[in-house]
């Protein structure tokens, strides 16, 4: 008798037109209820959300959608351009526009956006640009500004780019996280070296909300930030400083975990995620202004 089991997680492709570019976007989903749209980290893909996608408690109340950003995983580069003749440099504007176009293409009502690292940073961009489109954002390992990682080493032709990207991000994970999950995350990072540096153009160069956090309408689109103790790029102090400058913003400190919490240790991350979702719902029911 077979022990095989078919996962309830399903995969689909959806076409997305944005900024004159045509994309065929792959996403995984499971669950019913309010959508949570999940963005993986730079140079990676949606398997980072594998634990959440099969989390029975969370998917009982939420429709979890984890997509591959174009040029990552099973989402190809644009269909209608000669993309190989240009250097890929992701911008805040195109990244934000893409996520909004994807939410529209999937006809998502009242979605929560959650992203980690460069996904945590774009969560802040979305809250700033389109507070009307999202029920709130969860910015994981995000900050107003995160310089220092737009490095040539990720694509240096004299080194093994796959290993440099994977082992260069290894220290972003906590030693307490299960070894097998850290190695899965490492393995994903060997697959994305061509997109990694271009993603980091957004992460370390184009994303800069210093002095602009006060413009985020945190009443309309509540912001909850969560960062792990072992994150050397965006430290807990960076995220807390950012959250404190956002109206109605909150910060959750996550001990003994790192920069890829959903992928390196879902069992620990989920406890903070449930807390963050409860906080987000409470903020929507009782906005800070109404309490004042």
């Amino acid at each position: 008798m077979s022990n095989s089991k078919i996962s309830p997680v399903t995969g689909h492709y959806v076409s997305v037109d944005v900024d004159g570019l045509e994309y065929k976007v792959f996403y995984l989903e499971n669950g019913t209820g309010q959508p949570i749209l999940c963005q993986h980290t730079a140079g990676c893909h949606n398997h980072q959300w594998r634990g959440l996608l099969e989390d029975e408690e969370i998917t009982a109340n939420y429709r979890v959608i984890a997509y591959d950003l174009p040029r990552h995983g099973k989402s190809d580069p644009p269909e209608n351009t000669e993309w190989w003749k240009e250097e890929y440099q992701l911008s805040a504007e195109h990244y934000s526009n893409f996520i909004i176009a994807l939410a529209d293409a999937l006809e998502l009502e009242n979605p929560i956006f959650m992203g980690s690292s460069f996904g945590g940073n774009v969560a802040l961009q979305l809250a700033l640009r389109r507070p009307d489109r999202f029920a709130g954002v969860l910015s994981v390992e995000g900050a107003d500004y995160s310089p220092g990682f737009y490095l040539d080493w990720w694509q240096h032709p004299h080194a093994n780019a796959a290993q440099v990207c994977a082992s260069g991000t290894w220290d972003l994970m906590a030693p307490q996280s299960p070894e097998a999950d850290r190695w899965k995350t490492w393995f994903y990072y060997t697959q994305g070296s061509e997109a990694f540096k271009g993603d980091l153009h957004f992460y370390s160069v184009d994303h800069d909300l210093r002095g602009r956090l006060g413009e985020i309408d945190g009443e309309k689109c509540p912001v909850v930030m969560m960062t792990g103790e072992y994150d050397y790029l965006t430290t807990p102090e960076d995220s807390e400083r950012t959250a404190n400058a956002i109206t109605n913003g909150s910060f959750i400190y996550m001990p003994a975990i790192g920069h890829f919490p959903m992928s390196e240790n879902h069992a620990v991350f989920r406890t903070y995620l449930i807390q963050a979702l409860e906080l987000l719902q409470a903020k929507r029911e009782k906005p800070a202004a109404a309490l004042a």
Binding site: H156, H158, S167, W170, D171, A174, Y230, T235
Partner: protein, 135 residues
């Protein structure tokens, strides 16, 4: 909480490190082309570690100014290296990237060679959690 095992002398640390690296399953499985030499500078002690095809062939303890050539250097205070020698290191003492971004570690010399051997160097540095601090 028990104190981490520390080699009582630099020579004994060098021997323990060599043994740990040369019997490590990961380095031995993936280190076929792991060949380089580097300075581990712990301020109070220094070591030049030479590796050929995945095997540590020689560790020079406290080399003189022009004694032994090396391709790159990993430098930090003794205090930082002691953090690396804990079984479960505290945050920012858990890797050379973390300590370079957030503590006093410096990666110097021909950093390309470090990048070419990054997977195995990362593992070698993690062996300090078992071998103990080099200082």
């Amino acid at each position: 909480m028990s104190a981490p095992t520390r080699a009582p002398s630099a020579e004994e640390w060098a021997a323990a490190f060599t043994d740990a690296s040369n019997t490590d399953p990961e380095i031995q499985a993936h280190g076929k082309y792991f060949t380089c030499s580097y300075l581990l500078d712990a301020t109070e002690r220094t070591y030049v570690i030479q590796v050929e095809s995945g095997k540590v062939t020689h560790v020079t303890v406290d080399p003189g100014p022009l004694d032994v050539p090396y391709q790159f250097a990993i430098r930090a205070s003794a205090e930082t290296w002691r953090g690396f020698g804990e079984e479960t290191p505290a945050a920012m003492f858990h890797g050379i990237w973390a300590a370079s971004f957030q503590r006093d570690m410096k990666l110097e010399g021909d950093v390309l060679v470090l990048m070419q051997n990054l997977r195995c160097i990362t593992r070698q540095v993690e062996l300090l959690r078992v071998v103990g601090s080099p200082v």
